[in-house]
Symmetry: C2
């Protein structure tokens, strides 16, 4: 084999408690490995129909144009922006973390006349802030992140949706981290376009981006004066493949769609409300345990995401050393801080299949060991005691 | 489960002899289903290193910037164009089928000042045609398709590469269908940027697009005056993740990279030359068989692709009925004609794992049955007799 080295561990198994990907159920991995068939095979077109139907259920929408983009979550973001925006169109982007910043960058590359409203990382927007920004400069599209994966902040959307629509704008929502782990009520909130990823609370491997467009968004797309800047992500062509025409556009990622279908079936079998309740309960248990050893959340109380727990790293603790120890000694992956939070925050995911009481307990116990090794003073066992009490109190 | 239907056949297995996806080896499917790990996990970064190393082997290049785009083959096309082209840059695209046309569309969306040289579908370009076009209007980038999947034509590149470089342009080559099935000598041919797909002669499921950029191409990218129009496909950011910085850009499709690595290991184990020889031998056997029952190739003699056999549908034969019968009675998928060839051509793939003598024989026997059912007059068994002779004569 010459000088080529091929040392890949064959079956390395981690406990994925970072910001995604999350643990993938064996059922989904089995589906992923089914024999590949053609993208125009009637049997595969039926898979696409079922994926759409179950994505509609998960997004809580009747939108016909609900499908999986052939790329990861960021491709979903780009799909929404590039199709809704024509060069010179005004777009307001709300920034309180990495993904709002990313949406601004994407919008500018699409030729948008972009304005931003920016607040401190770790905070959620108040509706008045969006209203003020729109009064200063109206927009065709307002983009906002529902679950900011970089800060762990949950953004309430009800009042903001009313403000955005009263101003005549379309509402574009990033639900990459929230979909399947908390309420993402696309129709109820009148969200015009929404995108997500497969590797967060849907617990499918990364590689597809569920998106949905309502009639108002499709109307904008149908009435564009210029071609969409991306051929690959052009919804007017993709809808001819996902829709009844079945016109070839690009070769869909066949096996990834098998996996997404299986993951969505598991969402449907559990039921949305039960799934959200599970995510919330495990979050509360983790929070109780972390509080007991003095670890605080980044977001203000009441705005914490249940599936992505962003916490401040205790003073004097070596960020990289703890994450390495968690990985090497316990096979647990958690996330470090992004951007402004690099070295200052840990991001502990409890997403999809990884949101279990076992994972909470394992993580707390492992973290206590790491903190003790770092010389942190705390009452040993306190996190487990507090978590046990919280879990029993459900 | 309410009204949601979930009828997906669990383990439908086809013989994939269309224009891709091709049959995927069980080894690759097994790799695909390994436990998902994080995109910044040291073990996964090692997977990326191995993918790059084996892609370099397969592309026959020393290019450091050789990686897998997180999308299908068309995303690879868009990645190359959107990174090399700034608005107003001149690009010459050579069109002799669907994929040249597609490249033109992509280039225009990227803001290129596009010119085209167009010849009849089914023909290959003569070097003089490219030289003439460049004399009329010089270009920054010349895009050409090596293996036109819509017509089955193989485009010789040696002289064209010299002409393109003498004019001062960069050479961009579509090797979606050729890579791994015939000689794609990136360094030897001085190809500046090249893209492929995983689901053709690499026999991996669709979902990734191998690409490679040489120093001249990277130099153009580094000296851009404007941001790349696509955030998702921006090579200047992606290289910080695939390179030594390991800076998060987007979440890589983890399991698809496992599968690609395994597929590339199989390419390496077989050896490039042996793999090309296998594709050629099976093509010759198929061609002998088809000729014996009067079926002619679309491309001129000497320009047929070994992995994608585009043949004229005999007069009076019902295209859709034959393809449906092949699928329903024999589980064999072949491709219909695209664009100008819709209803006029069949596209019979012998790609990667699907390029076997067994598949050739099975297909010929099945086709004889279908043709007989269509009332076509031919000497029964003639295709098998001719194929047997050809296969024995190797």
């Amino acid at each position: 084999m010459g000088t080529i080295t091929m040392n890949t561990p064959n079956t390395l198994k981690r406990v994925l408690m970072g910001p995604g990907p999350s643990d993938v159920d064996p059922r989904v991995l089995e589906a992923l490995s089914r024999p590949t068939i053609g993208h125009l095979d009637p049997a595969f077109l039926e898979v696409l129909n079922e994926v759409r139907e179950l994505l509609q259920y998960t997004f809580q929408t009747g939108n016909e144009m609900t499908f999986a983009v052939s790329g990861t979550g960021s491709a979903g973001m780009e799909t929404c922006v590039v199709n809704l925006i024509e060069p010179g169109d005004s777009m307001l982007v709300c920034i309180n973390g990495v993904f709002g910043k990313r949406m601004t960058d994407v919008a500018e590359r699409c030729g948008a006349d972009t304005s931003t409203v920016e607040i401190d990382w770790g905070k959620a927007f108040e509706p008045g802030q969006i209203a003020d920004a729109l009064k200063k400069k109206p927009a065709k599209v307002v983009g906002i992140v529902h679950a900011e994966t970089s800060t762990g902040v949950c953004q309430p959307l009800e009042e903001i949706s009313k403000i955005v629509h009263d101003s005549g704008a379309l509402l574009l929502v990033d639900a990459v981290t929230s979909l399947g782990g908390m309420n993402v009520d696309v129709d109820g909130l009148k969200i015009d376009a929404c995108y997500s990823g497969t590797q967060k609370c849907l617990s499918c491997p990364p590689g597809l981006a569920p998106v949905t467009f309502n009639d108002a968004a499709l109307n904008v797309i149908e009435n564009r004066k210029t071609k969409v800047r991306s051929w690959y992500l052009d919804v007017s062509m993709i809808r001819k493949y996902w829709g009844s025409e079945r016109l070839y556009h690009h070769t869909a990622p066949i096996n990834m769609n098998y996996a997404l279908l299986e993951a969505l079936k598991m969402v449907r079998e559990e039921g949305l409300e039960q799934r959200w309740a599970r995510h919330l309960a495990n979050h509360k248990t983790l929070k109780a345990g972390l509080s007991a050893v003095g670890i605080e959340y980044v977001p203000e109380a009441g705005f914490e995401l249940p599936m992505l727990n962003a916490v401040s790293i205790p003073a004097g603790v070596d960020d990289a050393a703890v994450r390495k120890q968690l990985l090497d000694e316990f096979n647990i992956e958690i996330g470090g801080g992004l951007g402004a939070f690099k070295g200052k925050a840990w991001r502990i995911g409890l997403m999809g299949s990884a949101s279990t009481l076992s994972n909470v307990m394992l993580f707390l116990a492992a973290l206590e060991k790491c903190l003790a090794d770092q010389g942190v003073k705390f009452e040993r066992g306190a996190s487990i005691a507090a978590a046990t009490e919280q879990a029993g109190a459900k």
